[in-house]
Symmetry: C2
Subunit: 86 residues, 2 copies
Amino acid sequence: MYIILCYDIDVKRVGKVLKTCRRYLHWVQNSVLEGELTGLEYQQLKDELNDIIANNDNVRVYSVRAEKWMKTEILGDSPVNTSSFL
Amino acid sequence: MYIILCYDIDVKRVGKVLKTCRRYLHWVQNSVLEGELTGLEYQQLKDELNDIIANNDNVRVYSVRAEKWMKTEILGDSPVNTSSFL
């Protein structure tokens, strides 16, 4: 399945969430990651994130069976290097 | 088509981008909106956004033919009321 993950996380936890997500998905924009995952990998990622997130944190995960079912369009510049962003 | 729009916009322009997006889509998370659009509506939204965005601004638009082709899962709390967020 192809995954798009968007997160809105408290500054205290956002670094840990990004680090965890990056083990499964690739960063595409501030607070947005994408990638192909198996069902098992997806469940593992959810379990790890559920152990980290707390009040007011919100993670939205969109999944389609295959990337070809979804079109991606980008307006504006490609995102800046992420090392300074969380 | 069903649209997911994620934006990473300079603070000088983000209010205008959110206001424009909200005329077409519904807010679901900080910097993320969703909704069903016709091809014409989608083109109009892109044209309006292209008139607003500038250097280092980035908008990612994911579209699927119908919402039923996509699964949405939410971890954590439902997002806080948006009036204070951009």
